[in-house]
Symmetry: C2
Subunit: 307 residues, 2 copies
């Protein structure tokens, strides 16, 4: 799947990923109204609004981008109905040949991590049958529990040729509270980065490992160091745009081959129509605003990284 991600990036010349993190207040009123007219102001109605919103955005941008990253929390908050919309979104994006990164940030002890890995990347056994459930291509994983919480994910990735992005340095303001603390003279995130490089060693695609890392755009100096610590790991970079990360800071996240990083934008794309720059599209053409925002983001990043 890392090979497919790279192919998709090369085909689109766009090292970006669109975060499908729908909040109800991003969704234009006409879509909410239509969904609520059919299902009432219910969880089902909310899920339908999310799905219609996602579908229209995906239809408008899929030819420009290599991948999407649905954030499962935004669906899970609407319970079972929300998770159905998550599943529908994953499946639809895969039909459109997009690589799907499930932003699930799971992680637990061995047997439990195995269950998550099976449910999101692998196949679960039921009697004599096997089923894929959420079936993303990559998922994000939390490393706090150490190797035996990660290994079951790695095992399933090997079997299914899928991949991981392991949290190393997150984009949020208080990420440094634990991640930046010095251990033997090096911040915790570097120690985690070293482990990511090691975990990824025997899961190599053609040029990069299946096992990648999450490093926030908001910490470019750290990105530079981590790039060197994990030369064969793809870096998923959240925090561009709405969270404050700038394109000119992104160069250090890439290798000299112009690969090695994929930059996420969520709100900046899916709710583009709410921004001053794209307001003229209007609410009904929100997906056209998203398309323009994708084009602008690609240009912004490619210029900054000299691609």
């Amino acid at each position: 799947m890392i090979n497919k991600l790279i192919q998709n990036i090369q085909k689109t010349n766009a090292p970006i990923v669109v975060g499908l993190d729908p909040m109800l207040n991003y969704i234009p009123p006409h879509i909410q109204k239509r969904a609520f007219a059919e299902f009432g102001e219910t969880l089902e109605g909310a899920a339908e609004a999310i799905w219609q919103y996602n579908k229209e955005i995906v239809d408008a941008v899929y030819d420009l981008i290599p991948a999407v990253k649905p954030q499962i929390a935004m669906y899970e908050q609407f319970g079972i109905e929300g998770l159905k919309a998550f599943q529908k979104t994953v499946n639809y994006c895969k039909e459109k040949n997009l690589v799907v990164i499930g932003d699930i940030k799971r992680g637990d002890i061995g047997s439990t991590s195995e269950a998550y890995a099976v449910g999101h990347l692998g196949k679960v056994q039921v009697g004599s049958k096997r089923y894929s459930c959420f079936d993303e291509d990559f998922v994000t994983v939390n490393p706090y529990l150490g190797s035996d919480g990660i290994k079951p994910f790695v095992d399933v990735c090997k079997e299914e040729k899928k991949g991981l992005f392991i949290l190393v340095k997150t984009s949020n303001q208080s990420s440094g509270e634990f991640q930046d603390r010095l251990i033997d003279g090096k911040p915790l995130y570097e120690h985690v980065g070293e482990k990511v490089a090691k975990w990824g060693e025997d899961c190599m695609g053609d040029s990069y490992s299946y096992i990648g890392a999450v490093v926030g755009a908001t910490y470019p100096k750290m990105g530079e160091i981590l790039r060197k610590i994990m030369p064969k790991s793809f870096i998923l970079v959240p925090g561009y745009g709405a969270q404050g990360g700038k394109a000119e800071d992104l160069k250090p996240y890439f290798n000299e081959d112009g690969l090695g990083a994929i930059i996420n934008s969520s709100r900046g794309i899916i709710a583009a129509y709410k921004q001053e720059a794209y307001k003229h599209f209007g609410e009904t053409a929100f997906a056209d605003a998203s398309r323009q925002a994708v084009l602008d983001m690609i240009a912004d990043i490619n210029q900054a990284i000299g691609r």
Copy 2:
């Protein structure tokens, strides 16, 4: 909810929690057969088997215990159908007046943690209506992202009078890989423990905080230190029994009032009928085996802690 947890513990004289972590291979063949006869070897069939298994165990033990801890991964691996069984289990246990600790180990940046908190502990807004979705009483949370990933959970807990158990020192073998590393002369888990104590300060129930911690039974020396660092935090202790934690090691997790800790056993209870000691119950009376295992666990722990 911390007050209710303490009341339930005092009423049952049992500082324990039963982990409802069903694996299909724990479920006796007659239950699987019945479910598959009705729904086929499908995800729905697996979910039905899990639900029937859980229900029979809960019916057999609910009067003996204060709380249950369903591990969501074991349900999530069966996709939407599995999560429906999770929800059914949560609701059923609450009907039985059990405190429900959702072992979900979520944690993300601010707005995303908020979505998880809303979906699992709070109410989500849909138009003019508000809905509770998974509606557990407590959830487990991962601290790797720092305060701004925890705060949205704390805020929802304050509003709903619910609670958290934040991962401090986990029970698994490689938990020390990051958690034990020394920072300013103290292991990371102590730094996290200090934060837990601080986060919990303004969320006090009558005698304990709503904000608790997870500390594995497999590390009693660390438990002793953490007990002192977080005097007002309840400690959820996994790792007793099947994972190797012994009753005599559990004393340091408790305060002098005999409270402050709740010991989890999952496999040891729900799959008791598979153990040598309870084999004589037979597969069809698996729930009676679970009841006996609960009684034995309570006696074992109360004796060890001198309760």
